[in-house]
Symmetry: D2
Subunit: 332 residues, 4 copies
């Protein structure tokens, strides 16, 4: 059985840290969004009411899974607040479940709950799962180059409590946005990248991220991350691409869109994988344009879509709503 | 406990036909969409695979409901295919559940399943519920006046198997659309309505509908149905209003929209109630317009929205996705 | 100077029928939508008020074009009702103009007006132009295979007077939709196509179309038209592709979309050219989908987008709003 | 003939400053957006290329207007770059025109151009008009209370050169956002408002605005402006209302929307008038919501719509695209 980032299996309980550390391959296919649950984020403001937990489960479909899961929660005194499930096929398909539940005293009994779930449910079902305290925000690193629209929008949404995350640091290969980031009270790390220094720069990035974040967001970071970086970062990486993928993959999508004469432009948030612009899509949206729109105007309209789509994708990920299924995602 | 159309309660098992017949008040507030489950529609083509059942449940929220329901289904050999739930508040709120399940031999054991559910689950929870065989289409009457766009779209979608319904008849106060309806092989009843004949006309309509349909759809029927009709029809009535309610309620909404200079127009599908244009909203959508749009052009753009919104609302209703909650709906 | 379908130049007045007949290349690049103005459609119902003309002009941009055109119309007693213009660049760019004007007695003086415009305006500007009487509907042939949604929607919109066109005939390689078309009182030509009979079938199609239509619409016609057909048909051909081009060009776009996990699907109406799925885009739209949507459901949602997008594209073309600019279109 | 803010008439040439000053009534009905052209904004960065002018004209419709205007521009050596026109009816209707033109040395000859246009065109047509140098940004005051989303979005868009405006100052009845505004280098004026101090506060606001701004934007300013203020401010006032007007006018629109169970929420940008929430609508947009959305979530989704809609309305106004027509607007 292939495990995934942040997903426990019955055979690999949370007490075993190796269970959360993933192979290179797994990092590029972050099933269930891949948050390392065993290294919980520090408590933050958030706006989730207390005692709300989130359980995500993935296994081969078959009869009785919901009964087993909900029976477990009921026995533990948890009340299901919301629940979503999806199956790729009732017989032999893959089953995905996300449940929000209310359980008084959740924080204190989280570890115990995980162990019990592993033993009573995940083991018999041979399922992967993750349980999180909704009050603990996801710890995030934002990578950016010079375009500020996605970065500022995420920082602003985080500040006003719209996103259940804590921005731990901003990493940029340019110094331009240092003052803007400082205004939000967030550390800014300027790590220039050239062809010659790329390996060293990525090593420095990895050193900064280790044990500090649960998610990396590429908020218009214009450097390609190497396969080596992606395999070693050990947390999911979300990227925003400024086109409606798979159309206009690669460079200069707005010029491509102008030349092709499309009537809508779009943006795509996806998990970064070694195959550039090919990772599982989390969210997309579009805006209407016309023959009058210059490339500069497409770029501006596109910026509005980009920041909105990225904010949605990050929010859903941090709420454990995004589960990876091969090359695609389930977005509950 | 107030029952609702088509919802069984533990105290009113399916064997008692009166349990499905509702009071006048209930007909104007069709909780759970109110399909009379005990008088199933005749088997039709549809495109639901066999042995798929739908269970909708509504009760006061509390711990263990999902566990109890899913446990019941599991014991009966049913595999949950999809499930949605919503609660207006974990303590003392109202809980709504819709579950699709696969159960071999569903049709043969449906009555038995209902009885068991009433006894084992609905009774203890004091819940209303309904179980339907997805293979049995909803029987529908379409009411129309002269505008053909909503009527033809529904007939066409029904013919191509997009909607899980069977159009039993079309009722119109004009003869204009008789040939169009005949082309679809559907009975057309021309019942003129004037102020003097209104009561008789409604009586004739009720006579035609009795024991024959599970739903009435007003596909741009330009007569106001009386409170008496609504209380006696005993099945839900869906109406399409040609504005984005609550804006421009009443007559001539496109003229109103033009005069007010709005930049978007819309349409609203809702359950008909005695309070005109005030019934629970099922679905809405809008289209962009500009200062250039004349009232005639607003009317045309609006027609596209109307037929799309009404088709969605009818589809969702017939799939048991729409549950009424007071003045609003849950649309799973 | 390269002329285009239906565009007169000063050097090729309307009296010369050859001016409306185009080279193979031109037919695949229908500048200005390419209606053969010299062979006017027969008068039809339409809903344009009388005495409304449409003038489209295309030339190299430079100062004074609007002054010259509007001055001409004013001298002829025409009042400009609406006017749109676009330039790809003020110096050396390409200029496009579409003007609607009111001129009492338009029909009687149309030929004279054309000659005068050629001499006084188009000649000095070295411009292509076309003047049409808005009361004369575009004559259209609809090509279809088995999917009925685009065909029926166009026939229905034409019947209710929404589109300024006259459906002259429907051509299909299958007999399935004969009865549906007959119900609209439109001739239905069944021309089966196999690999062996393709050349003969296309010849028969061309024979049916000659001197009879101004536009061919491929309303989900599942046969590829040969370059030979496109070069000889002499009128523009509009196609509807069931994807958000350039994404998922080629076969089975909904399967491709499902496999790639996109969150929006779309449809694209474009002029057919020899390069399949590469012709100038007229209109596009999208609908939101989710991981739950099966290929069958994508296909259904897509059908709604397809018929809407195609209807818009056909309407705009027939209103002379679509002007081709290389690989793209201006859509006024 | 009733004049309007910033519109010259032939009888009131630009040399007469009184011509730009309007009656109390006019300020609440800002025909043509009402920028006082005679007191030009100071030159700013903007991103308009030089020598681009904008001409807006409004008069009773009749033949030859476009010919006269374009002939004038051609004689003066101007090349029309873009032009939009609209008429409420060809005979006796109201005609609106917006033209962008390129004229080398525009800045130097602007006054002369205005005088000549007044004499040669506006006089004979009895038209109102305004000519602006596109390089001169609109001077704007932003009013805000505590919600920061609209304010920060406008400040950010202004900083990155997306909007052709110069933010002269921010006025707030609370001190909360002082630091945020300071980070943009914009003066922040804290003017508390209570019932007792309202008159004095408005007087102080008027003193701050006089001769300094061309536009006031209420970016979620939660105080009602008095009729006295609106009549004396002498520049247009744009407001953002957090509902899809005319639905849910008045207080707490998101609560109203939740209670009514609508499936879409929206926002409306309009010119402020004495009749609260009744001013001419400039732009609107909506977002889909569901039964799951709490009032807090509606408020958040709504905030995204509000800032987008307001930014569009302000941009269009500053580009002279918005012309008031009674209770509605033309938005070119």
């Amino acid at each position: 059985m292939t495990s995934a980032p942040g997903l426990r299996t019955a055979a690999a309980p949370a007490a075993d840290p190796a269970a959360d550390q993933l192979t290179a391959g797994a990092a590029t296919e972050p099933v269930l969004g891949g948050l390392p649950a065993a290294r919980p984020a520090r408590s933050g403001p958030g706006d989730s009411p207390g005692d709300i937990g989130r359980l995500v489960v993935s296994c081969v479909d078959g009869p009785g899974i919901v009964a087993r899961v909900s029976g477990f929660l009921h026995r533990r005194g948890a009340n299901i607040v919301q629940s979503d499930q999806y199956s790729t096929g009732p017989v032999g398909g893959k089953f995905f479940l996300r449940t929000e539940f209310h359980l008084p005293g959740l924080a204190e009994q989280l570890a115990d709950l995980e162990d019990a779930f592993a033993q009573e449910v995940a083991g018999p079902l041979n399922a992967e799962f993750r349980i999180r305290d909704a009050a603990r925000p996801t710890r995030v690193a934002l990578f950016v180059s010079r375009y500020d629209h996605c970065l500022l929008d995420l920082l602003w949404r985080a500040r006003r409590g719209e996103l259940p995350l804590q921005v731990e640091l901003v990493v940029s290969n340019h110094a331009d946005l240092a003052a803007d980031v400082a205004a939000f009270g967030v550390p800014f790390e300027h790590i220039p990248v050239s062809k010659a220094t790329k390996a060293a720069a990525e090593q420095r990035q990895l050193d900064l991220l280790r044990d500090r974040v649960d998610l990396v967001v590429l908020a218009r970071y214009m450097q390609i991350l190497t396969a080596d970086f992606l395999s070693r970062v050990e947390v999911p990486v979300i990227n925003i691409h400024h086109s409606f993928l798979p159309a206009f993959a690669g460079a200069s999508p707005y010029e491509q869109a102008k030349n092709r004469g499309v009537k809508l432009i779009g943006a795509t948030a996806h998990y970064a994988t070694e195959d550039l612009d090919e990772g599982p899509i989390i969210e997309q949206d579009v805006a209407r344009v016309s023959h009058r729109s210059s490339v500069a105007e497409l770029t501006r309209s596109g910026a509005d879509i980009e920041r909105t789509v990225l904010a949605r994708a990050v929010k859903w990920h941090c709420e454990d709503r995004v589960l990876v299924n091969g090359r695609t995602t389930i977005a509950f």
